[in-house]
């Protein structure tokens, strides 16, 4: 379970989206940023939780991405949905365009993954990407609509999850052993815990604080 204490900065209305004739018409309420997705009781979504070994080193060479189901990134209402995702290296990332307008899908990497910048017209075919290097928060953006962003985190193992709106996360099929659990929020950084995972599984709770 991930929770947030304190009051994060208020989200702001995405006024350029509202002012865009095509994109603005796709929203009935003013669209806002989603940097801190927090429930009534502090349930904190969009936190990437992953496992490292007991010494805090990355788990590498364990990717099953080539055989895993693809993850899907949609463009809907001139926003990316979801905005925080995680995938394995070698796992397909499918980008859809559900909007009535053109987007360019532009991924930028700081870890040496291939940078893409592709056109995706309304109703056009999905775009499929794979990335081969682990990376935290690799950015996807649309430069036609410069408020559109999504961040895809890539791991070289299947041992990760993204917390949901209830603040919960599940990492499946973890072999028993001692691990370092790392919880990372794009704005608030990392927290770590070392835990023993028995056959029956284990739980870890993290509390972030908005300063």
């Amino acid at each position: 379970m991930i929770t947030l204490k304190g009051t994060p900065p208020a989200e702001v209305e995405i006024t350029p989206l509202e002012n865009d004739p095509t994109c603005g018409a796709l929203h009935t309420t003013p669209p806002t940023t989603h940097f801190y997705v927090v429930g009534k009781n502090g349930e904190f979504a969009d936190v990437i939780v992953s496992l490292k070994d007991a010494d805090g080193k990355d788990i590498t060479g364990k990717s099953t991405g080539a055989n895993a189901a693809p993850i899907v990134l949609d463009q809907k209402g001139c926003l990316y949905e979801p905005q925080i995702l995680a995938a394995q290296t070698g796992q397909k990332v499918i980008v859809k365009n559900s909007d009535p307008c053109i987007h360019n899908v532009h991924s930028t990497s700081k870890a040496g993954n291939t940078e893409h910048n592709d056109v995706q017209i309304s109703g056009g075919p999905d775009l499929t990407y794979t990335f081969d290097k682990p990376e935290m928060f690799m950015k996807f953006q649309c430069d036609v609509h410069p408020w559109m962003f999504a961040w895809v985190t890539l791991f070289d193992s299947p041992y990760f999850a993204v917390s949901g709106q209830d603040g919960k996360f599940v990492i499946k099929n973890v072999p028993p052993g001692k691990y370092t659990v790392v919880a990372t929020h794009r704005k608030l950084g990392n927290q770590t815990q070392v835990i023993d995972v028995p056959d029956s599984g284990a739980t870890a709770n993290f509390t972030f604080e908005a300063k």
């Binding site: 940023t33 360019n104 532009h106 940078e115 430069d143 410069p146 950084g189």
Partner: protein, 347 residues
């Protein structure tokens, strides 16, 4: 001896090209300010269309800024080509012919640089593209000056010495402005928005905390709509250096204006130009502050880029005119190069 006669048509065409270049800087500035540089993924085509037949109905969002920038750049390239050819054909000064060819080559290089920035997806090339654009603008304004009646009149007048210390001071200040423009272009090329969002203080301090914890706190507090790259300590320091250099430029330009007033007299053209320079720097500082207070509003940030370009050009033209007056401008081709050499030696 070759007498250079004023060619009104050539002069106004050079002015037109310089104005078009200024507007191109505005268009380019808007591309970066609107984060639209990669909104047209292909080059030299636009979304698979020939650039000139890309339907206006598809110029939506960031595409509008990037595509109009490309079209306007093509116009400037066309004007520059004509100007270069005109200089080669009509201007008797060999060095002017060479400057025309240099302008032609530079505008081609600048266009290719802009295209490569898109095709190779390299932010750093965008920074270089910005700096070369400013340099090209200086060259175009210089060509307009050299074809003007004002310049030819200077050439015919007896030598009027502009004190060497004043010339050196203006030259050094102009170079400082050029360095400042490189800093500014680098900052804009980070696509991280404002690394310090307060002015005149920096996060409430004279010098901001750049420790990892502080940087994380700044990032946590930012709620960006565009320019979402996290800021780094390097970017915070970069903006502080930009502020310090701005202060130095203000001091130097003020000294230049005062010394020009005292040493050349208030009615001298160079004094008037120095006062204009001082006014531009004042406006530029206000625009720099406004860029922060408006959270880098696109039009304000672009105006900041444009006044920066005008400040650079003003300093450069001041130096050129001072040189033209201090060393009797030659009317023969060979003397002209000698004169430029003398100017370099006087620095």
């Amino acid at each position: 001896m070759t007498n250079v006669k004023f060619n009104r048509s050539l002069y106004w065409f050079a002015v037109l090209t310089a104005v078009a270049t200024f507007l191109l800087l505005a268009a380019g500035g808007m591309v970066t300010s609107r984060e639209a540089g990669m909104s047209v993924p292909d080059w030299p085509n636009s979304y698979g269309y020939n650039m000139f037949s890309f339907p206006p109905s598809k110029w939506i969002g960031g595409i509008f800024y990037e595509h109009t920038h490309r079209l306007w750049a093509s116009t400037v390239g066309f004007l520059t080509t004509i100007l270069a050819a005109w200089l080669l054909w009509k201007d008797p000064r060999k060095w002017m012919k060479r400057l025309g060819v240099a302008a032609f080559l530079l505008v081609i290089a600048q266009g290719v640089l802009g295209g490569l920035r898109v095709v190779l997806k390299m932010d750093n090339l965008g920074t270089v593209h910005g700096v070369v654009g400013q340099t090209f603008f200086v060259l175009m304004c210089s060509l307009a000056l050299f074809t003007s009646k004002f310049w030819l009149r200077i050439s015919e007048q007896p030598k009027v010495n502009v004190p060497g210390t004043l010339r050196t001071l203006v030259l050094a200040t102009t170079f400082l402005i050029f360095c400042q423009l490189i800093l500014g272009s680098t900052m804009r090329g980070q696509h991280a928005g404002l690394s310090i969002n307060t002015f005149p203080s920096a996060y409430g301090k004279v010098w901001p905390d750049t420790s990892p914890d502080a940087i994380q706190m700044y990032n946590a507090q930012r709620v960006e709509i565009t320019n979402v790259n996290p800021i780094t300590a390097f970017q915070v320091i970069l903006q502080m250096v930009h502020r310090i250099v701005a202060l130095l430029i203000f001091i130097f330009v003020t000294i230049c204006a005062i010394r020009a007033w005292r040493q050349l007299g208030k009615s001298d053209a160079l004094t008037k130009l120095a006062l204009c320079w001082f006014a531009l720097i004042d406006v530029q500082i206000c625009l720099g502050a406004a860029t922060i207070w408006t959270n880098k509003a696109a039009d304000v940030a672009t105006a900041h880029v444009l006044v920066g370009a005008l400040s650079l050009v003003t300093g450069a033209l001041w130096c050129i005119i001072a040189f033209g007056r201090s060393v009797r401008a030659p009317e023969t081709q060979n003397e002209a190069f000698g004169a430029f050499g003398t100017f370099a030696g006087n620095k």
